[in-house]
């Protein structure tokens, strides 16, 4: 901290214990008979995580192959689960996570239809994530948004439609950034840019 060349030299950092989390212990994966054949019933899962990238190792590396698989087969995904996927992404500038500097906030994650109302695995679920960047810096906001989108696209089943936006008024060029992040073609092209890919994979390294 304190380096003057940061755009925001002194962000508010929350301690990990202050971050929202589930009250019950996490990580209990149900392995009942219901989920026994899920790898057959949802055969596309395995590659959905790499659909944006011809080199899957960049994104899924050693980490959460198993986690990705079980997401779809557990109980319905809720806002807390989305938050958990995103909060551990590193800030591109500071050695803190997006959760710690409240760029990602549980209250700004919305799922529709809500978890209880879903049935058909083909029916679409919208995930809306409003980000609150700490700085008024366009390219950084775009990079953070891109990392959030990549993280969710890799982790969520293919019927999830991801909408990543800058929270109203939190960023000077909201519309411009939002439009870029919503443009599938631009996102796909950006992820073929080695420099950007490097920055994002570094940001995602902490998502274990």
């Amino acid at each position: 901290m304190g380096k003057s060349d940061f755009d925001n030299a002194n962000p508010t950092v929350l301690s990990v214990s202050q971050l929202p989390s589930r009250t019950q212990a996490k990580g209990h994966v149900r392995k009942g008979p219901d989920s026994k054949y899920d790898h057959i019933l949802f055969p596309k899962q395995w590659w959905a995580g790499s659909s944006l990238n011809s080199d899957p190792s960049v994104w899924t590396s050693d980490e959460d192959e198993d986690e990705d698989l079980t997401l779809a087969t557990e109980e319905p995904i809720d806002e807390q689960e989305i938050y958990d996927l995103l909060s551990k992404i590193s800030d591109p500038e500071h050695p803190v996570t997006l959760g710690q500097i409240a760029v990602v906030r549980l209250d700004d994650i919305h799922l529709s239809p809500s978890p209880g109302e879903r049935s058909d695995p083909n029916s679409l679920v919208n995930v809306e994530v409003d980000l609150t960047p700490t700085v008024n810096h366009c390219s950084l906001a775009t990079v953070i948004g891109l990392a959030v989108r990549v993280r969710l696209e890799n982790a969520l089943p293919p019927n999830y439609r991801i909408i990543v936006r800058m929270k109203d008024g939190s960023h000077a060029q909201d519309d411009q950034v939002n439009k870029q992040l919503g443009d599938k073609e631009r996102v796909a092209a950006a992820l073929e840019n080695d420099t950007l890919k490097g920055i994002i994979s570094k940001m995602l390294e902490t998502c274990v």
């Binding site: 083909n122 679409l124 439609r161 443009d183 796909a188 092209a189």
Partner: protein, 457 residues
């Protein structure tokens, strides 16, 4: 509303049923599948390559790979030469690819050379064993030229109807027009002079955002009819769609300068694509244009009839314009065309509309988008509209602007987004009218290329 009274369609119901998907699955996002204008081939762009499928066998015909370092976004077949006479058709195939690596690639498949090689192999095999068969399979397509110039990803490529021009567009906000100077008489078969030589004839930079798509007006009678704009410019018309929410139309002004003749404004988001009406219109009226985009809408645009335009043709003076708004220098008064939005299709999609296909046989429209829905629309006749007006019951299908929804298919690619749709002819064994019956082909993020049978009653 300029409703086409010529539409013969009295179809009331339509049924879309899936046919077996092309094999193999590509298992990665596929962006688009472009059918050859006359041959039973369709080219699917995915990752850094293009897979050509045979429409007869519904399986892989050949692959173009190794030419691009980033994703191939789109492709265009060179229009067949020798006009409509298939016997004069060249044995040479050409496909142009547009890639995120900023280039467009010109690929050539030389059937003549392939046959020579086969003959040679047969001769060799009669004498000694030959094991080269396997490797030659992949060698059939040759990247013969790379068109460089764009600063960012190339998003779309399009051949003019005669094959004389190629248009490319990019995230760098520009549209480039290239002329095939190695092939001076594209309408005549003369392979001796057919060389890969292209010249840049225009760089159009009036869009304020990525140019997402380009499309040339087809060579239908209406293009040169009495309704077409004054003779002094060339017949070719190019449409471009952009991230700046507009569509622009471009023409050559007779002095070799390409100028913007119209700006079509109405979409409230990125315009993902444009498509011209292929089916000739009654009275040889000028073809209409479709545009669609991120605002979930599909719009139909029509050229204003010349007699209407005449009323506005007051002072032919240069800087003085009667509407009181600024007209850029490049849109000189005399070149401006009046286009108006004559229909907005009934809203079906919840999310970006990525692709719409306009049948040149039936005039039906089909659309796909991020919501995974495939929708089929038909233009309503005047009579039908009157019936709906007087009928007390609410119409069973949503209707707006002279078009109605015939049917929709939900989750057409399961939970995946659908990036492209096209009409093409059926050549597979299941068709009762091979090379005549039309089908739809959709291309999705699941890497599946799916044909669909369309039955209308």
């Amino acid at each position: 509303m300029a409703t086409e009274t010529s539409t013969p369609a009295t179809a009331t119901t339509a049924e879309i049923t899936p046919l077996p998907a092309f094999s193999p699955d590509l298992y990665q996002r596929a962006w688009a599948s472009i059918p050859h204008p006359t041959l039973p081939l369709i080219a699917t762009c995915h990752a850094h390559s293009v897979t050509i499928f045979s429409l007869s066998t519904l399986s892989k015909h050949s692959v173009l790979s190794g030419g691009h370092t980033r994703s191939v976004r789109t492709a265009a077949w060179q229009p067949p030469r020798g006009g409509k006479n298939p016997s004069k058709e060249t044995k040479r195939l050409r496909l142009v690819t547009g890639s995120f690596d900023t280039t467009a690639g010109v690929w050539t498949w030389d059937q003549g050379r392939r046959e020579e090689r086969l003959e040679r192999e047969v001769r060799l095999q009669s004498g000694q064993e030959d094991t080269k068969e396997e490797e030659e399979e992949e060698d059939e397509w040759e990247l013969t030229l790379v068109l460089e110039g764009h600063e960012n990803e190339v998003k779309s490529v399009s051949y003019s109807p005669s094959g004389q021009y190629l248009a490319t567009c990019s995230r760098d906000k520009s549209v480039w027009i290239w002329e095939d100077v190695g092939n001076p008489n594209p309408s005549e078969e003369d392979e001796e002079v057919d060389e890969d030589e292209w010249e840049t004839v225009a760089v159009l930079q009036e869009h304020d955002g990525d140019v997402k798509a380009v499309a040339w007006c087809p060579d239908v009678p209406g293009r040169k009819s009495k309704y077409a704009p004054a003779r002094r410019y060339g017949d070719d018309v190019l449409a471009s769609a952009s991230y700046d929410n507009t569509v622009r139309l471009w023409r050559e002004d007779g002095d070799g300068e390409w100028v913007c003749v119209a700006v079509l404004e109405g979409h409230e988001g990125t315009v993902w694509g444009v498509s011209w009406e292929q089916k000739p219109r009654e009275g040889d009226r000028f073809p209409r244009l479709l545009s669609w985009g991120a605002d979930e809408r599909i719009r139909v645009w029509s050229l204003k009839e010349p007699e209407e335009e005449e009323e506005h043709q007051g002072g032919e003076g240069g800087g003085n314009n009667p509407w009181g708004f600024g007209v850029p220098n490049t849109m000189r008064r005399s070149l401006k065309e009046e286009w108006e939005c004559t229909a907005v299709l009934p809203k079906v999609h919840k999310g970006d509309v990525y692709s719409v296909a306009w049948s040149n046989e039936t005039g039906l429209l089909a659309s796909v988008g991020s919501d995974g829905v495939l929708a089929l629309y038909q233009e309503t006749t005047k009579a039908e509209e009157d019936v709906e007006m007087t009928n007390g019951d609410a119409p069973t299908t949503p209707s707006a602007g002279g078009w109605k929804v015939l049917t929709t298919v939900k989750s057409a690619h399961g939970p995946y987004e659908i990036n492209h749709i096209t009409w093409c002819k059926r050549y597979d064994a299941g068709s009762e009218r091979k090379s005549e019956e039309e089908m739809l082909v959709t291309t999705g993020d699941d890497g599946v290329v799916k044909p669909w049978q369309v039955r209308i009653q």
